[in-house]
């Protein structure tokens, strides 16, 4: 997909850059394109700041813990082993898995929120928590390094900061006796932990979105929305297990750790299987999309380019999560109606066809898409892709504009710049002005950035 798209991405970049210089002073260009160089620099600075903070915290914690020695070494060892063991779960992780090592994260959170062990009060502080989590995390990455895989530094930094946050909210208060004095050992203690975990999850989501933005340059708000939306998934299972481990160790001692690890491992297995079948499903949809190319209906790589560009434009326009997935599937399959024609359209480009013919192909396509297992929303987008933009939902507008851009830009005489000009001329009826401008911005930034994980 990348190989097929790279050639076009180059021409798109050139076209977009020229458009930007040509478009200065044009009233329709409402927002100026973001300077790619500036985004890159800010991104690098954010990432460095987060990593630096995590590193500073780690060094302080390790230094002071060495200096003072460990409180309750048995607890530290048990949780450390759990975290290091949990890190092994990264083996089968797919690139971009949201929580590749849930057991390790849950163990780290539990250690941060631990107040008692089988009825005896514990005394470890924030810095010891961080030190144990980091040491165990590093020990857990050794097998991965030995196999020549890069450690996931972003994830490690996030874990250090999140755990430090949770421990800083809990340990000083608890060790000073304030928590027990005010809330006792009953249900209100549980409620307190729930509140703390909610805050921690928010903190983690903000950090994750920041790092994502730094890596990809996508707008911050939809990324944060994505992160928050993903929380009820495996994130909440991790938080719940963290809390329940802290409580269960307080009641039953360290035996609770292995017993509670099992359900979480099951959760992870179920999520992995779900993710695997989702990947397969996407690949199958992609090969269905490729069928039009093989059948000679569309130029090679067209469906993939339209899908990748549509996703980027959708993100630019504030779509997130499931909406983006639906948009991408629809963009992949937008030309599938051409399979139903006994003889292919000349050149495979639908954009120059009469509107009536375009709509007919769209309806045929929707009929095929409804036979596949993709959500109904995808079929609706495919169906509406050829309507005038005022009657279209946003995803259909995006697919229409991006498809037209790719069809027109394939024409040597027209090129990327000419294609954008043609789209701008069509904003009275066919293409939505905002979508066209977002497309211009995405192209100016250098076309398509790699899809973010998740």
């Amino acid at each position: 997909m990348k190989a097929a798209g790279s050639g076009r991405a180059g021409s798109g970049r050139a076209g977009g850059a020229r458009t930007r210089t040509a478009g200065v002073g044009r009233p329709r260009t409402r927002t100026r394109g973001v300077n790619p160089a500036r985004t890159g620099a800010t991104g690098a600075r954010t990432a460095t700041a987060v990593h630096g903070a995590a590193l500073l915290l780690t060094l302080t914690a390790l230094g002071l813990t060495f200096w003072h020695g460990l409180d309750e070494p048995a607890n530290a060892l048990a949780f450390g082993v759990l975290i290091a063991f949990g890190e092994l779960a990264r083996w089968g992780a797919r690139p971009g898995e949201r929580e590749p090592a849930p057991l390790a994260t849950a163990g780290a959170l539990a250690y941060a929120l631990l107040g008692q062990n089988a009825g005896k009060t514990t005394t470890h502080g924030v810095l010891q928590t961080v030190a144990v989590v980091v040491a165990a995390g590093l020990a857990g990455t050794v097998p991965h390094l030995a196999r020549g895989r890069d450690p996931d530094l972003d994830h490690l930094a996030r874990r250090v900061l999140t755990v430090a946050f949770a421990a800083a909210c809990f340990q000083p208060l608890y060790n000073a006796g304030a928590v027990t004095a005010r809330l006792g050992q009953g249900p209100s203690h549980v409620l307190f932990l729930v509140l703390l975990l909610l805050l921690t999850a928010l903190c983690d989501a903000v950090l994750a979105a920041l790092l994502h933005r730094a890596r990809t340059g996508h707008p911050y708000a939809p990324l944060l929305r994505d992160e928050l939306r993903a929380l009820p998934g495996i994130g909440s299972a991790v938080c719940a297990t963290g809390a329940v481990m802290a409580l269960a160790v307080a009641v039953a001692g360290l035996w609770a750790l292995p017993v509670l690890a099992v359900p979480l491992v099951l959760t992870q297995v179920s999520f992995r299987r779900y993710a695997a079948v989702r990947t397969t499903s996407r690949q199958t949809i992609a090969s269905l999309a490729r069928a039009t190319e093989i059948a000679g209906c569309t130029p090679p790589g067209h469906a993939h380019r339209v899908a990748a560009l549509s996703r980027a434009v959708g993100r630019e326009l504030g779509l997130s999560g499931p909406e983006l997935t639906v948009l991408e599937s629809a963009a992949l399959m937008h030309d599938i109606g051409q399979l139903s024609l006994v003889d292919p359209v000349a050149g495979g480009a639908t954009a120059p066809l009469p509107a009536e013919e375009q709509r007919r192909i769209a309806l045929l396509g929707a009929a095929v898409v409804r036979q596949t297992g993709v959500p109904e929303a995808v079929a609706r987008i495919v169906e509406r892709q050829a309507d005038p933009y005022r009657e279209q939902p946003l995803p259909a507008r995006i697919v229409r504009a991006v498809n037209a851009y790719d069809d027109l830009a394939a024409d040597r005489a027209c090129g990327g710049l000419g294609a954008l000009e043609r789209l701008r001329l069509g904003t009275a009826r066919d293409y939505h002005p905002d979508v066209v401008e977002s497309l211009a911005r995405v192209l100016a930034r250098g076309g398509v950035t790699p899809a973010p994980p998740g």
């Binding site: 409580l247 009641v251 099992v262 397969t280 690949q283 006994v342 993709v374």
Partner: protein
């Protein structure tokens, strides 16, 4: 559906037994808050499982795995009840959830009664096993810490008893209601129950421990969350799998519509390939891959012009060359489907022959990948036993004789032998996907004698009535268009 008398008697007996088990709970001394809370939790937690059932029912598809015994109920809650409460009260907690759960097939009343009785009996038995091993004392109470390594023993016994009871009851109902032979009624039940119940048993144990602790039931609820989410994950998995199979079917249907005479061929080749592969001793995951490889083997025909595929009568050398490109087109299409792995070569090489006279590469003997040799035999077998535009269906025996005659030169003798053995054991019921009738045999002589007709006139009325049919609006007019730019047709996929 007629329910056998023995099944009715069994359900009646189970109801009586369940009543006998639960009635002592009405005596004073039952801790009603615990019973009520657990009884309310149980149906709430069953929601994601219920959703999965709904998906199975609505989504249909070939995913007709009989719902795992136990979908619709959520066992950690029941096992917690079995650990915390005396048998009668524990059995009582199972009733509301079982009675409220959705029943997907008639007879509704009878099924509902059976499920309630079955769960109540199993939970009652599990609680009795726990009690016998002093479980309630070992769990600790308030500030008392539980007696940890020991408490695993009663918890394990509880989970095991629960499993055994459920397996015994399910086997009994299988034997009576579904008329399974007595020897096979219990087969496989315990194995299917054991692994999930061990996990559920551990979660139930932690719930019980926290329930009794000073933190109270609120803390116990946290244990349920990961279980709940993993249930949801499995439900999503099943939904997405059904969606994936629908996508594959859509691909196959697209081929079927181009080449009408092969309707159902893809599915049957998938089936025959699995028969061969199973006989060769391949394991379950590989069988799945072989099935998909068989189903998708002709997907490259999407790249062949419709008019060539539908042509009646002999092909010109040029047309033959175009048709012989379809394995390469197919391989190019499925290149991105990761899970097919090695089986993708089956699509590329399913027209190779053992003596090297096949296409596209003219590979010989062991050079041809194993999957490809499997699919080649399955493909030839189905082509011979089904009606084509150029020949009518032959009986299975004749087809096998023909395969044996060509084995060694065209086909791998091992695969032919495997197919012969598999057909001997299981028979051959060419199954066709619902809604796609096989080409009726009487049509064949007419097609052979009559001059070539435009495809629209050859279509069954049933096909045209199908609104989602790909061919709907295309008609003879489209066929009269010039072929359009076919220059790309000759390109070889990389």
């Amino acid at each position: 559906m007629v329910v056998p008398r023995s099944a009715r008697v069994l359900v009646g007996c189970a109801l009586l037994a369940a009543a006998a088990v639960t009635l002592p709970a009405l005596r004073p001394g039952t801790s009603w808050p615990t019973v009520l809370l657990l009884a309310a939790l149980h149906p709430v937690c069953a929601l994601p499982a219920r959703c999965r059932l709904a998906v199975r029912v609505l989504g249909g598809g070939p995913d007709r795995v009989p719902a795992l015994p136990g979908t619709g109920s959520f066992f950690p809650v029941l096992l917690t009840a079995a650990l915390l409460l005396p048998p009668a009260a524990a059995a009582l907690t199972a009733l509301p959830g079982a009675l409220l759960a959705r029943v997907e097939r008639p007879p509704f009343g009878l099924r509902r009664a059976w499920r309630a009785a079955r769960l109540a009996l199993a939970v009652g038995a599990a609680a009795r096993a726990g009690q016998a091993l002093r479980c309630p004392d070992a769990l600790g109470l308030g500030p008392d810490t539980p007696d940890f390594p020991y408490v695993l023993l009663p918890a394990g016994a509880t989970a095991l008893t629960f499993c055994l009871a459920l397996a015994a009851l399910d086997g009994a109902i299988r034997a009576t209601a579904e008329q399974f032979p007595l020897r096979t009624a219990w087969r496989g039940l315990l194995g299917r129950f054991l692994a999930p119940h061990t996990v559920h048993g551990l979660a139930g144990l932690m719930m019980a421990v926290l329930w009794r602790s000073s933190y109270g039931p609120a803390a116990a609820l946290f244990v349920l969350l990961p279980m709940y989410i993993s249930c949801w994950g499995f439900a999503q998995y099943h939904r997405e799998r059904a969606a994936h199979q629908a996508t594959i079917r859509a691909l196959v249907q697209a081929v079927d519509i181009k080449d009408r005479y092969t309707r159902g061929h893809s599915e049957r080749v998938g089936h025959a390939s699995v028969l061969i592969a199973r006989e060769l001793g391949m394991d379950e995951p590989r069988l799945e891959v072989v099935r998909f490889a068989g189903i998708l083997h002709d997907v490259g025909k999407l790249g062949v012009p419709t008019r060539v595929l539908r042509k009646d009568g002999p092909l010109t050398p040029e047309e033959r060359r175009i048709i012989e490109l379809h394995p390469e087109y197919g391989h190019e299409m499925v290149r991105g489907i990761g899970f097919l792995g090695e089986a993708r070569t089956a699509i590329l090489h399913h027209h190779e022959r053992m003596d090297g006279s096949g296409y596209p590469y003219g590979l010989k003997g062991e050079q041809i990948p194993e999957y490809a040799r499997v699919v080649a035999v399955a493909d030839a077998f189905d082509a011979m036993t089904s009606t084509r535009s150029y020949s009518r269906a032959r009986p299975v025996e004749t087809a096998l004789a023909e395969l044996r005659r060509c084995s060694g030169s065209h086909f791998d003798p091992r695969m032919v032998e495997a197919l012969t053995r598999a057909l001997h054991d299981h028979g051959w019921q060419p199954e066709v996907t619902a809604g796609e009738p096989t080409v009726p045999a009487p049509r064949n002589p007419r097609a052979a004698q009559a001059p070539p007709q435009p495809p629209a006139s050859r279509t069954d009325p049933a096909d045209r009535a199908n609104p989602t049919d790909l061919t709907g609006p295309t008609g003879p007019t489209d066929r009269t268009n010039p072929a359009g730019p076919r220059a790309r047709r000759g390109r070889r996929p990389a």
